[in-house]
């Protein structure tokens, strides 16, 4: 309520009213579906950021073993562990998925929607229900039985989205993030149902995005480890073979580079014998 005195917020509210009006009157959505549409549009605008996220997830996956080593090394010093991990990111030019700016870009939308739902006088007789179980999106969530259903969906979707979004590999932190919705649900219960609807929509979008991302990341395997393993044995053989040339004349595997000089020698020897 104190926030309302800030002039930007009332401006945000007017913009949100216009957008909702446009979706309702021009695009023909009900008020509830207009909120869903606004959410979808906002998330669509953030898609370029998601593409960046896919790349960062791929590079994170490739460096996972080294990062686990760092975590083991500084097991007892969380502060130091965080610092070292961040240094590792910078050195290897890894881009962690999470960042504050995209989140902050969603904040004004959320605040605008909150005040719009609180203050907007919807035209009398307008349909404020959603999928037959929410009767009034501008009313408190717990004031209607459908609100409780929506809250359950919120908790589940929020947990699922943190599963995809949380950048930390730290287990205790992850569990903490997973349990957070159970606390938030008490704060959110006082909000208008339309706001929870926004929340559920944006969470479901995150989950869907996460599923697609995960599939894309899995399709691109990390080939570096395999290549190294196939390359290293011949190199070892070659070096040991060079050292033990007089003792063992012909080792069974025939690698390319180390074998060539031998062949030349043999040829020379053969010619001299003949």
């Amino acid at each position: 309520m104190i926030l309302y005195t800030v002039p930007i917020i009332s401006q945000l509210e007017t913009v949100m009213k216009h957008v909702l009006n446009w979706f309702h009157y021009n695009a023909g959505f009900t008020w509830a579906w207009s909120i869903v549409a606004v959410t979808v549009v906002v998330r669509m605008l953030l898609v370029p950021l998601t593409i960046k996220q896919i790349h960062s997830m791929q590079s994170l996956q490739q460096h996972a073993p080294q990062m686990k080593e760092i975590q083991k090394k500084y097991k007892h010093d969380k502060q130091k562990q965080n610092e070292e991990l961040m240094k590792f990111y910078r050195e290897n030019k890894i881009n962690p998925a999470a960042s504050c700016l995209p989140m902050l870009l969603q904040l004004p939308v959320f605040v605008a929607l909150y005040y719009t739902l609180k203050n907007y006088n919807f035209p009398p007789g307008s349909d404020l229900s959603w999928l037959h179980f929410i009767h009034d999106i501008s009313a408190g969530t717990t004031a209607q039985w459908g609100g409780y259903v929506l809250l359950v969906v919120y908790v589940v979707s929020q947990m699922a989205s943190t599963l995809f979004m949380a950048a930390t590999t730290d287990k205790t932190q992850r569990i903490l993030f997973m349990l957070m919705p159970l606390v938030f649900v008490f704060i959110i219960a006082r909000f208008p149902a339309g706001l929870v609807l926004y929340w559920v929509t944006t969470n479901l979008w995150t989950v869907g995005q996460g599923l697609i991302t995960r599939r894309l990341v899995q399709k691109a395997p990390a080939p570096t480890v395999e290549k190294r393993s196939s390359r290293t044995p011949p190199k070892d053989d070659g070096s040991s073979g060079n050292g033990a040339q007089p003792e063992t004349p012909a080792p069974q595997p025939a690698p390319s580079t180390s074998q060539r000089p031998r062949q030349v020698r043999r040829k020379k020897k053969r010619t001299s014998r003949r």
Partner: protein
């Protein structure tokens, strides 16, 4: 006197905490920097006062985008 001079930055720190406890708590994303953006803001406000501290915090928030690399970035 020094207490009076520090009041503006205390106000800023209070605002950061208000954000942390309300809206910040609702968005469970982690920052790619260490210290995190809000922690950085508190430290910057403490060290450089309201004006410079806010500018530093704002600049950090802009840097905390998907194209930056993140990492260890303390207040200087």
């Amino acid at each position: 006197m020094s207490v009076v001079l520090r009041l503006p930055s205390k106000l800023g720190i209070g605002l950061v905490w208000a954000y942390r406890l309300t809206l910040g708590a609702l968005f469970p994303t982690t920052c790619k920097y260490h210290p995190s953006c809000s922690e950085y803001a508190v430290q910057a406000l403490r060290k450089h006062g309201l004006v410079r501290g806010s500018l530093l915090a704002g600049w950090r928030l802009i840097r905390c985008n998907p194209w930056s690399h993140g990492g260890f970035d303390p207040v200087r």
